[in-house]
Symmetry: C2
Subunit: 258 residues, 2 copies
């Protein structure tokens, strides 16, 4: 049973002709200024993005039910889906509480780490998502340098006697568990391709890591990324609006040549 989140994203994508997810990672010493800057950036770039991803950059200084909720309300007014990048990886009872809190605050989806497994691990998150009609996106290959240490390691499966990459196992679990999306770093286009070969169009790939982290947008799109997660290249630009539009256009151009 597909959850509502995937169609919410597709709708937003069509409406704004954009596959850019804004990573709202605003950094400032003063929480008040973080909130003001976040609101200002949303107002300036919202017509060029299809969703907003929020992580601990905002959650820790502003509080989930403080400043973050205000931002979520603004996103909702603008019709932009929101993703909690909390990388949940706890035991079942805590994962359940984590999901309930993020969804109650207004997030449409959250990101979790499949490394914790299913029983008494991620299962409660999927249950809460089903009940509250929200989405779950799973980490499959992260964008940073040491990603190969964990996501890229080879796992020996005693039952089959096979050796398979961790990210392949995670991609298969994403299908099995009914995830609404997976994260694969734009910095590793060959991994995007490998994971896309497993998932096809049934579980969309979200790719962070373009711009500041060095990933190439065109390569990511051609390799199978559906959504590009962009933070610093927009937020730290002199003109965030212009930057968002230009990145949106590069993605759309790359899609045409796909």
């Amino acid at each position: 049973m597909p959850r509502r989140f995937k169609s919410l994203m597709e709708e937003s994508e069509r409406k704004r002709d954009s596959r850019i997810v804004l990573a709202l990672d605003v950094v400032d010493e003063d929480p008040e200024r973080i909130l003001l800057k976040s609101m200002s950036i949303i107002d300036r770039v919202n017509e060029y993005i299809c969703a907003i991803k929020i992580n601990f950059h905002l959650i820790l200084p502003l509080g989930l039910f403080g400043g973050v909720r205000k931002i979520l309300e603004r996103a909702r007014e603008l019709g932009l889906p929101t993703i909690a990048d909390c990388k949940a990886n706890d035991i079942g009872s805590t994962n359940r509480l984590i999901a309930e809190n993020y969804f109650r605050a207004g997030f449409d989806a959250l990101i979790a780490n499949p490394f914790v497994g299913w029983e008494d691990g991620l299962q409660p998150i999927f249950e809460v998502a089903d009940k509250m009609e929200r989405g779950v996106i799973l980490l499959t290959y992260m964008s940073h340098k040491a990603s190969s240490e964990g996501y890229g390691q080879n796992v020996y499966e005693a039952i089959s006697g096979k050796i398979r990459p961790q990210y392949v196992i995670f991609a298969e679990k994403s299908l099995l568990w009914g995830a609404d999306g997976v994260i694969v770093g734009a910095t590793y286009p060959e991994r995007i391709r490998g994971i896309y070969n497993i998932l096809g169009d049934s579980v969309p790939i979200y790719s962070p890591g373009v711009g500041a982290q060095g990933g190439d947008i065109r390569m990511a799109v051609l390799s199978g990324s559906r959504y590009l997660i962009v933070g610093r290249s927009i937020i730290e630009a002199d003109d965030p609006s212009k930057s968002a539009r230009s990145i949106r256009d590069i993605v759309n151009e790359a899609r045409k040549s796909d």
Copy 2:
């Protein structure tokens, strides 16, 4: 270079003759009541515990710089070290910000997941911990049912041609990276033993999962756990003070027979 946190824990342990870390996982619909209950439990059990662990049960509804900071202040007044159970598993720049926020709020240590690896992964957390003189505790084998899916899987290492359990690799990384502690579920005493054989007394083992989750205190202690993390058995007891004292005594008895 050992950080200050390990000696802070040893001091607290000696002073109170306790190896119990209270998992302050208070659940309530109303944030005000969560704060009041948390304060009340600390006041009632503080003489029988050696530290307090706080996770998203409090961080999400109360806010890190709201209610959580008040609890951290109370813990400091009582001379109890505090651990942020945030299970950090992000990219380097976000991990750095996560550590800075938790430590600035007053936490003495945080928990991170070694699965993200070192470069541009956990390295910045260790750097911030060094600079601010705080501790880092790494997940090595969690207490829940599906723990075997990730922490218990077998990893094939191409260079050596060896197949080794994930938790052994994590334990070795804890030594290599200079962690101040590791988490190993009390529900898996044979894993505690295996990890203790690698770490000896140089990296203390913290074990959650006794009580509600079914782990046996005596078995955990005899297998090598130094600190027992206890939540529901104390918090949900009719008399939290009596329960904390009794669990403290069971741990101390088990140590004697070790």
